[in-house]
Each structure stands twice: as C-alpha cells, then as structure tokens.
C-alpha cells in the first residue's frame, strides 16, 4: 500500500485557489524531490498534508496508509508518523529545547499507546542524535529556536525528525540558509534515516541538495499542480533550462 496518496487535491486560501488538482503517490522507502518556482504551492502542499489551519480543501483526497488524513487532527497525524521540517521554523521563548523535545516525543508516544521514555533513556537518545548532527548540548538548553542561526534552526528540525522517527518526512527547503558543511551534515542526518519503511519528500530549489540526498523521483510543480515527473536527472535538466517552459504551459 502506498504510504501517501494525494489525489486531485484542490486547496483554497482566502478565496484564492492555490492548488488545482494536485496528485502525488509516495511509497515506503522512496525519496521524492519537489522543485518549482517561488509561489507554485510547494509549502502549501506540505502544510495541508500536516494539517495547518487556514487552508480550505475544496476537492480531492489525501490518504496516509489508506486512511483519510484530512479527517485527522494535526497532532494525530504527527503521532501517526507525519513529520514536516518547516521552511521557517518558529521560536518559542521560555520553552527549553530539551523540554520541548521530551514533551513532544512523549505526547506522540502516548497517543500511540506506547510508554513514555524514562529520563536517562531520553537523554541518551538526544545526546546520540545531537552529536551526529553536530548540535552542541548547550543549544538544547536554550528556548526552542530562540536566537538560533538560520542553519541551527534547520539542524534542530533534523534533530527532531531523527528523534521522532516518523514514517513520512517532508522537508521544506531544509537547504536554505545552510553553509556547505552544515548542508552535508544535515544531509547525512537525513540519509541516515532513509530506510525501507520510511519515505521522504524533499522540497528544494537547488539541484545541489539532491547530490547529497539522491531522490528516486523528481516532480516539477508550477502554478499549483505537478507538471512533470522524472528521475534524478530531471533536476539537472531544470538547472540548465529553468522553469520558464512549465510556467507558460
């Protein structure tokens, strides 16, 4: 069974249609890249999958392991394994990152009927993961993303992804704001999570990221729908020719 099936999705924001009949199927173990010009609706798609309020779905369906995702509350979707690494991660002043990670992880586990992590187990796990992502421990004592550099915020997203072990990872421009070294470290972190059960949807503007995270499929989005799908070589072609050919269509 497909992990994620988006069928003919139509989405409006404030009376303006942003997605016009978008379809996308993602199977377990696959990595899909979504590319496309600014404003084509990539973040909108990721928000609707994650259940962000403010979007009106006027048509189509989203199935997650065959279940109707649109019927679920966003926290339920998270507990079922939908993870979105945000293009613009927010700051939460006064809430220590470590405390946030633990609260979120235990909330998800509780929702799935699993036992909560004990403090030592949790700390061990966080230490392991943060080390592999080159995240210093004292960063975890600070408020969630408060005063983090752009790159640190992105790494914090990958950290959470590694910690929560979701089955669907949507990465919205995880490469923006990362320097070359940070990009490699983050990409290694993502690659380490690739598995037969887990799928990734990687939204990016740059072919370069796809040298590190090699996709099985590349989709081109323009004006609210997928206009072309191909293999990893499609990203290289786009680098050459740009999006003009799709925008006029």
């Amino acid at each position: 069974m497909a992990l994620l099936e988006v069928k003919d999705l139509q989405v409006r924001v404030e009376d303006r249609e942003i997605l016009h009949g978008l379809s996308l199927t993602v199977n377990p173990g696959e990595v899909h890249a979504i590319m496309g010009p600014n404003g084509s609706g990539k973040s909108t798609l990721s928000h609707v999958i994650a259940g962000k309020p403010g979007y009106e779905v006027t048509g189509g369906q989203i199935l997650f392991r065959g279940e109707d995702l649109l019927e679920m509350e966003p926290d339920e979707r998270a507990a079922k394994g939908v993870f979105l690494a945000f293009q613009y991660p927010v700051e939460i002043p006064g809430v220590a990152t470590m405390n946030f990670l633990r609260t979120a992880l235990n909330a998800q586990r509780k929702a799935r009927g699993e036992s909560e992590y004990s403090t030592p187990d949790f700390l061990k796990k966080v230490r392991e993961v943060s080390k592999s992502l080159n995240i210093p421990q004292d960063m975890l004592k600070r408020g969630v993303n408060v005063g983090f550099s752009g790159g640190e915020k992105k790494r914090n997203e990958i950290l959470q992804m590694a910690l929560f072990e979701p089955s669907l990872c949507i990465l919205d421009e995880m490469d923006s704001g990362l320097d070359i070294d940070a990009l490699r470290i983050a990409a290694d972190g993502v690659n380490a999570l690739r598995s037969l059960e887990r799928a990734m949807v990687v939204i990016t503007h740059y072919q370069r990221l796809l040298n590190y995270i090699v996709p099985d499929y590349v989709h081109v989005m323009a004006k609210g729908s997928v206009v072309k799908t191909g293999g990893k070589e499609l990203a290289l072609q786009l680098e050459e020719s740009g999006y003009a050919q799709f925008e006029d269509a």
């Binding site: 994650a50 998270a78 945000f86 939460i92 809430v95 609260t103």
Partner: protein
C-alpha cells in the same frame, strides 16, 4: 479568516468552568447580623476580645470610611455593591476551645485536605500536596496559617518557629499577645485613611496573619497563609502584617480559593510589610479565588491593598504574584523605597479568561538614595476578559541615583479579549534612570501549529507557550509553589483538558 476562526473556536472552549475548588463546606457558623454600623465594628472587636485601643482604631477607620467614595479610576466595571447587604463576620462555630489540631471541626480539616493544604505538621516535597505515595522530605517544611471565612482555624509549626524567635500567628492573637508590636506597625504602611477599601478593611478586618522575624534571624521555613471564603454573602477582610527586623529574612506565601456561587463576593484585604535595615521579605501570592462562570456570573471581587515599606537601609522587598482567579482584581502590591540602597521587586503573572477583569500592577516609590526597583509583568488575556497593567514609578527629589527597570508583556489568546498597559513615570531628580519596555502580542498561530505538528494537542500547545511566556516570573516563586502555579496556569487556560 479560517486560521483565526480556528483559534476563536478553541478559545470558546477555553472557559473558566473548570474551577476545581468550588465546593462548599457545610458547617454551622456564627455570623454577625447583616450590614455595617458602629455596632458591627464593636461586635467584631468584642468577638476577638480586643483591647480598647484596637476598637478605637477600628471605629476611627469606620467613621473615616463613611466620608469616602469608592474609586472608579480602574478599568473595571461591576454592579454597585450594597455594603449594607453583606455579612462582615462569619466564623465556624467552635465546639469548644481548641488546644490541638485534632479538635478542629473534621469538615474543615476535610476542606483543607481537599484543597491540598497540610494542616498537620508534615514536611512536603513538591507542590502543596505531598506526591502520591511519596515520602515527605525532611528538609522542606512549610508553616501554614489557615483562615476560614473570618477566623484563623489553625497555625502549624508555631512551636518550632518560636524556637527561632519567629512569631507567626493569627493577627487576632497577636493583638492580644504582642500589642506593642502590632500597635507600632499596624497602619504604618497602609494608613487607615489610605483608600476606600483599605479603610473599610481597617474597620472590619477579621483575621489574617502576623509575622515578626527578630534581628539577624533567617526564618527557618516558608510561611504561608491559606485563605478560604466559605459563607455566602460574606465579605472577607483579612489583614496581614509582616515585620522583618534588622538583618532578617522571611519568605511568605498566600493562597486563596472560594466556593462556586452565582453571586459576587467581596474580598478586601490589606497587607503591610516592613523591612528594617538589611532585612529581606519575599512575598508570593497564588490567587485563585472563584472567577465566576463562563457567562460571567458570580466570582470574587478582589479589591486588595498591599504595600511594603523598605524602611531600613539596604532592605529588600519582593512581591511575586500569580493571579488566575477572581471576577475582578484590583490590586497594586507596592514598595516604598525609603531606606538608602533599598530594593523593590514586583513579578507578576495575571491571567484573565471568561469575563474576568484584571486591573493590577505596582507602585515603586523611590525616596532614599541609590534605591532600585524592578518590575516584570506578564499579562495573559483569553476569552472575553480585560487585562490591564497599571504601574507607577516615581523618584523623589532626594532619591538620587534611583533606578528602575520595567518590562510589561501581554499575550492575547483570541480576539475578544483586551490587554492594556498604563505606566506612569515621574522623576523629580535628574539622576534617576528609568527604563520601560512593553510588548503586546497575540498567541501565534504559527507557533501553535509548530507544537501541534510535533504531536502536542492544541491545549497542550497553548499551555506550553504560555508557560514559556511567564517563565521569568515563575522562577521567582519558591520551588514548591512554582510547580503548583504552573499547573494552575494550564488549568486556567485549558478548556477541555485537566
């Protein structure tokens, strides 16, 4: 706008109906006849076996009160209070004179048990409640004075405190047993003529706590008073007086709850703090009077005068308040910085929900040289509530080198509530440095969604964000109460959870 609509829907469910302390204790009580007159003042004084000077003091206040009018400058609205339609004295009928806690009416003991207030002399670890099944810790002890309607029903650890020289007892007892101290200090910070509600309190106050910490003594445990209004149509007028003599230190906490009732009830307390040279008083409040129901029916009118006098050089008074209850809150815990180098602090979390109205803040009056003050106020408004911070910072001509830092942050949840900041600043000498920062923000949809995407429910997300917002102030509370306060904050805001 759908995103905003979502929040509005959530907030609609967040209401004040989940008040957990709204039960009533059915006991026989003894009341003065309804209404206020010289005779009632005499009745109260007689009930308390007061000396003549105390009665005179009360009567003077009463006569003064008759000439005063209720203040109207605060941003609060309420129906006119009929002062003749209230009871001014209600006390649980004692079976006989009590000599130990075991003789307290079991119904009252049960009440405090339900409230999680230890009237037995046990040490506690965390929160006012001992953890379920947990061993009480040896190190942490909290002495409690329990005031039920107009009288103190029990004061714990008095013997142990006495060994250290600390006097902690109901003020009604202190008037009889330590008249020299009471006469010297009572009304010396909040004079009987101070304001309408304080003057009323001076005439009819019933009970409250008295604390005296002798020179050089660090009070060996937290002191606390727990106020409970139980009777119907009864005003509660407590009076608290705390004196920290030279070089001493005391940390004191008060908590309050009341049954759920459809009619409003008046609570007009006066608290006076006096810190002499090098002394420090830390006063914390967790105010959780019944706030009224989600339609705005019922709830306590909390009209309170609290003032601290840093009378000695290098003295320090710090107010920390967590205000979640009451239909209307009108209170401005203040510091008079009289001693040179003295310091005043005010840390406040004021949460309003439903139809609650809060008008609260502080006054920092710099009189001595090189005095400093710090104000951190966090207001959170949800539902249809109105939340006002009102603060005054002044430096007298002689208060050279006065310094103040003020930060007022307001957080709005939903769009039917309001937050207001009314700062008054007056520097009468040019060497004063006053800094003021204020922010008002709406709880961010994006932040809530971020939390929810990570698996938190909407209510948990609101609780987390709000607790983050108030963290600087929560840290000022004694550890045991910080935990309790954090829970209370979440309960006040989470409609369906908790």
């Amino acid at each position: 706008m759908p995103a905003v609509q979502e929040t509005v829907d959530r907030v609609r469910r967040i209401d004040v109906d989940q008040y957990r302390y709204g039960f009533e204790t059915l006991i026989e009580s003894e009341k003065a006849p309804k209404g206020l007159s010289e005779d009632i003042v005499r009745f109260i004084s007689e009930k308390k076996n007061e000396p003549a000077w105390m009665l005179e003091w009360r009567l003077e206040a009463y006569r003064r009160w008759l000439t005063m009018t209720e203040p109207t400058w605060a941003r609060v609205h309420y129906p006119k209070i009929d002062y003749q339609d209230l009871y001014y004295y209600a006390a649980p009928k004692p079976k006989k004179t009590l000599s130990s806690i075991d003789e307290i009416d079991p119904e009252i003991l049960k009440t405090y048990e339900k409230l999680g207030i230890p009237l037995r002399e046990v040490a506690i670890l965390e929160g006012v409640e001992p953890p379920p099944g947990g061993e009480p810790s040896e190190q942490r002890k909290i002495a409690v004075d329990a005031v039920f309607d107009s009288v103190s029903v029990a004061t714990t650890f008095q013997k142990e405190l006495k060994k250290a020289g600390v006097i902690f007892m109901p003020i009604s007892e202190a008037i009889r047993e330590h008249p020299e101290l009471v006469r010297k200090y009572l009304g010396s910070v909040v004079p009987t003529s101070d304001n309408f509600f304080a003057t009323l309190n001076s005439a009819v106050f019933s009970d409250g706590s008295f604390v005296y910490v002798p020179p050089g003594v660090r009070c060996p445990m937290e002191l606390s008073t727990y106020f409970r209004i139980n009777e119907r149509n009864t005003g509660q007028f407590e009076r608290t007086l705390i004196i920290a003599d030279k070089g001493s230190y005391v940390s004191y906490l008060e908590g309050c709850t009341a049954p759920q009732r459809d009619e409003n009830q008046l609570h007009a307390a006066v608290v006076e703090l006096i810190a002499l040279d090098d002394a420090e008083i830390k006063y914390s409040t967790v105010q959780n009077w019944y706030p009224g129901n989600s339609e705005g029916l019922g709830g306590i009118f909390n009209f309170v005068t609290k003032r601290g006098d840093c009378r000695g050089a290098n003295s320090k008074i710090s107010w920390t308040q967590v205000e979640t209850g009451s239909a209307i809150t009108w209170k401005y815990p203040s510091c008079i910085l009289r001693g040179d180098n003295s310091r005043g602090e005010f840390y406040s979390i004021a949460i309003s929900n439903g139809y609650q109205q809060v008008d609260s803040g502080t006054k920092m009056i710099h009189l001595g040289k090189n005095t400093s003050s710090r104000i951190i106020s966090k207001g959170i408004a949800a539902g249809k509530s109105q939340n006002t911070y009102r603060g005054l910072v002044t430096a007298h001509r002689k208060a050279t080198g006065a310094r103040n830092y003020t930060a007022c942050d307001s957080l709005l949840i939903g769009d039917k509530c309001g937050a207001h900041t009314v700062p008054y600043v007056e520097a009468k000498n040019s060497s004063a440095t006053f800094e003021h920062e204020a922010t008002t923000s709406k709880i961010s949809e994006d932040v809530l969604f971020y939390c929810v995407q990570r698996g938190l429910s909407q209510e948990e997300a609101v609780g987390l964000v709000v607790n983050g917002f108030v963290k600087d102030v929560l840290q000022q509370l004694p550890m045991e109460f910080a935990v309790e306060a954090q829970k209370l904050i979440s309960i006040s805001l989470e409609g369906s959870v908790g």
